[in-house]
Amino acid sequence: MNTRSARNAQAPRRPRLAVWKFASCDGCQLSLLDCEDELLAVAEAVELAYFPEATSTVLPGPYDISLVEGSITTPHDRERIQQVRRQSKRLVTIGACATSGGIQALRNGRDVTEFARIVYARPEYIDTLATSTPIAAHVRVDHELRGCPIDKGQLLATLAALLHGRRPPLPSHSVCEACKRAGHVCVMVAHGTPCLGPVTQTGCGALCPGCARGCYGCFGPKETPNTAALSAHLAALGMDDAARRRLYQTFNAGAEAFRKAGDA
C-alpha cells in the first residue's frame, strides 16, 4: 500500500490503464506481461489501475486507456462491456476474440433456434448467448489490435502512440507485404501451399510463411479482401470446399469477410 501511494505521489497524473477480460484464452493480455524489457517502463508511464491478471490493485475509473480482451458470449458480459465503455476514454480491443468473436464464434454457425431450445431446457446454462460477438458489435471501439494472439510490438507501439498522441501504427494491408519485406519465400507460389496471406491483415510479422507454412489468417481480413479471387485460386491448388471453409473459419470465423468466404 505504501508503495502504491508513493507511486501516486511522484507522478500523480499518469494516464490510467485498465485491462478487461471477456471470453478469451488470456493470451492477449499476457502479451503485455510478455513485454519483459518494457514492462516496468510501461508501469512507470501509466498507472495500472485495473489489471486483475497482474495486480490486485483496483483503482476507480474513468480510465484513459482500456484494453479489452475477449468476446461477448454471456448476457452479463453484454452489460459489463457497456460499463467498461462508459468508464474508458480510449477503448482498444486486443485480439481476435475482441475484434471478431474469436475461435468461440465457431458456435455462431449453428442453428440458433435449436441451440436456444436446448439452452432453455437447461436453465443453469441460460447464461450463455448463442453467439460470440466482437466488442465493436456492442460499443464504440477506438482502435483494434488484431491477431490470435496480438503482436506485442504492435501493443507497445499502440500504447506509446496513445500516450503521446500519435496515430497508432496499425496498417490494414496484406500479410504478403510483410512476408516480402521479411524476405520469406512465398509458400503458395513456390510450394503450392494454400495461404491466407493475401487476404489477411498484416501485423504478425508473416510468421507462418516464415516457418514455411501457409498463413492461417489469425489477424483477420485485411482492408478490401478479395476472398473470391483467392478462393478460386485455392480451388485450383486442389482445396475442396470443406477444407476452404475450415481455413477461413477458424480464428476469425466471426469476421464478416472470412465468414462469407467460408460459406460461399
Binding site: 519483459e36 514492462l39 490493485t57 458470449t73 475461435i103 449453428r110 436446448i118 439452452v119 516464415g210 492461417y216
Partner: protein, 436 residues
C-alpha cells in the same frame, strides 16, 4: 441467506490468476458454513467445435484454449492424435518438443512465481510494487522469463500460440545456430535463478499441511514434462494414459462453469502440479537439484501447498538445465516432421503443463475427421482440491479480520497457479454435440 451473525467474505475477481474466478466464504461465528471457488470463465465449447475438424487442425485450435500454456494443449493433442495413428515422434524432433516445453515451463513458472505469487508473500499488490523494493530481483526474473519466451519463439515461431508445431513435429526445424545462441543466456539464467531461489527460501510459509493424493505423469527415463507413460499417484496407483477416464471423473457444480474432477472410486480430490511432480518424480531430478530442494526447505513428500513456489523454482532450474542439454545435443533433422496418416480410432495424450497433467482423448475416423474430443485442464482437476484446502485453511483462521482472511485465502488459491482460462469443458457440452 445472510443473517446478522453470518459473515460473507467475497472476492469478486481473483487477481493474479489467469482467467476469471471468484471465491465466497460463508462464516457463522467461528464456524465455516461454506466455501465456493467459482470459475466464471464464459464457456467456449472447444470440444464441441473440434468435432468435424480435420485432425491436423487440432493442435492449432486447442492452443487457443489457453494463452498461458498453449504448448501443453498443442503437444497433448498432437500426441493423442499421433497415438491414434500409430506414430511416435522421437529423436531430434522429440528433442525440439521437449525444448519448447521447457521454454513454456520457464516462462509460465517465472511469471507465476515472481509476478503473481511472490507479491502475496511480501504483502504488495503486484510485481510493479515489488520492483520498488526488489528491483534487482524483479528485473532478473523478467529476464529469465524472457528467455523462456525466446526458447518458445526460436522453436515455435512465437511464444503465445506458436505457429511452427504440427502433428509429427514441426513445419521448419530451427537452425542450430539460432538455438546455440541462447546458451549464454541460459547459463546466466541458471546462475540468476539460484540467487532468486534464496530469496524465496527465506519467505515465511504458513504452517499448513494437507494429506494430499498427488498425481503426476511418469516417464521411465526422465522427469516427465512433454510426455509420460503412466499416471501415478502418491497412493500407489500407476495407470496407463488410457486409464485416465477410469481414474478420474468429472462433474459439474452449479457455482462454476468448469467441470470438477475427482477420483472415480472414492470421490476424493487429487492434487496436480509442481508439488505433485517434485514429490512423485523427485528421483528423476539431478541429484544436485534434489539436494538443493532439501536445502531450500522442500523436503521429500512436502505437503505444504504454499511451498509450491519452491517446487516451481526447482522445476525452472531443471528446465533451464534440460534446455541447455537439449540444445547441446541438437542437430538439425533431415525433415522437420514425420508423416502422420489418419486412421480410425481413439488415442490418448497427456503432458505435464506447468499447472499439472493436461489430458487429451480424441476419436477420429479413417479420413482424419474428429469424432469426439475430451480435454481436461489441470485447473479443473485442482479446483476441487483448492476448495478442500480452503475449507481446512480458512477454518483455522476465522478469527482474522476479513481483509487478512481474504488475503490468506487468495494466496492459498494462488499456490495452484490456477489457470482458469483453460478450464475448457462444461456440462452443456452435450448440447453442442447435438446435430445443428
Amino acid at each position: 441467506m445472510t443473517t446478522s451473525r453470518t459473515r460473507v467474505i467475497e472476492v469478486d475477481t481473483l487477481a493474479r490468476v489467469e482467467g476469471e474466478g471468484a471465491l465466497t466464504l460463508r462464516v457463522r461465528g467461528e464456524q465455516l458454513l461454506g466455501v465456493e471457488f467459482r470459475i466464471f470463465e464464459p464457456p467456449r465449447f472447444f470440444e464441441a467445435f473440434l468435432r468435424g475438424r480435420d485432425f491436423r487442425e487440432v493442435p492449432d485450435i486447442t492452443a487457443r484454449i489457453c494463452g498461458i500454456c498453449p504448448i501443453a494443449y498443442m503437444m497433448g493433442a498432437s500426441q493423442a492424435l499421433e497415438d491414434v495413428c500409430g506414430v511416435t515422434v522421437d529423436g531430434t524432433l522429440r528433442v525440439l518438443r521437449r525444448l519448447i516445453y521447457c521454454g513454456e515451463w520457464i516462462e509460465s513458472h517465472v511469471l507465476h512465481m515472481f509476478l503473481l505469487h511472490l507479491p502475496d508473500f511480501l504483502g504488495v499488490p503486484d510485481a510493479v510494487a515489488l520492483a520498488a523494493t526488489h528491483r534487482e530481483a524483479v528485473t532478473q526474473a523478467l529476464r529469465v522469463k524472457k528467455l523462456g519466451n525466446e526458447i518458445m519463439r526460436a522453436v515455435g515461431g512465437r511464444e503465445i500460440h506458436p505457429v511452427n508445431l504440427q502433428l509429427g513435429g514441426f513445419y521448419r526445424a530451427p537452425e542450430r545456430s539460432r538455438l546455440a545462441a541462447l546458451l549464454p543466456e541460459i547459463a546466466w539464467s541458471e546462475a540468476a535463478l539460484r540467487h532468486l531461489l534464496d530469496v524465496l527460501a527465506a519467505l515465511h510459509f504458513p504452517a499448513f499441511e494437507v494429506d494430499y493424493e498427488f498425481m503426476a505423469l511418469r516417464h521411465p527415463d526422465e522427469y516427465a514434462i512433454d510426455r509420460g507413460e503412466q499416471l501415478v499417484t502418491s497412493t500407489g496407483i500407476a495407470a496407463p494414459l488410457s486409464g485416465y477416464d477410469a481414474l478420474l471423473t468429472e462433474n459439474h457444480v452449479r457455482h462454476s462453469t468448469a467441470l470438477q474432477s475427482r477420483r472415480a472410486d472414492t470421490g476424493t480430490p487429487v492434487h496436480l502440479g509442481p508439488l505433485a511432480r517434485v514429490n512423485l518424480n523427485r528421483a528423476q531430478l539431478p541429484a544436485e537439484l534434489q539436494v538443493l530442494a532439501e536445502a531450500l526447505g522442500l523436503p521429500p513428500d512436502c505437503r505444504n501447498p504454499f511451498k509450491a513456489i519452491l517446487a516451481r523454482g526447482i522445476e525452472v532450474l531443471y528446465a533451464l538445465g534440460e534446455a541447455r542439454r537439449l540444445i547441446e545435443a541438437y542437430r538439425e533433422p533431415a525433415t522437420p516432421a514425420v508423416t502422420v496418416e489418419p486412421r480410425a480410432g481413439t488415442g490418448f495424450g497427456a503432458t505435464e503443463a506447468p499447472r499439472g497433467i493436461c489430458y487429451h482423448r480424441y476419436a477420429i475416423d479413417a479420413g482424419g475427421q474428429v469424432l469426439d474430443a475430451k480435454i481436461v485442464a489441470p485447473t479443473s482437476v485442482n479446483q476441487r482440491q483448492i476448495e478442500a484446502d480452503l475449507y481446512r485453511f480458512a477454518a483455522t483462521r476465522l478469527a482474522l479480520p476479513d481483509a487478512e482472511l481474504r488475503h490468506d485465502c487468495e494466496q492459498l488459491i494462488r499456490n495452484y497457479d490456477p489457470c482458469i482460462s483453460c478450464s475448457t469443458h462444461f456440462l452443456d457440452l452435450r448440447i453442442e454435440r447435438e446435430p445443428g
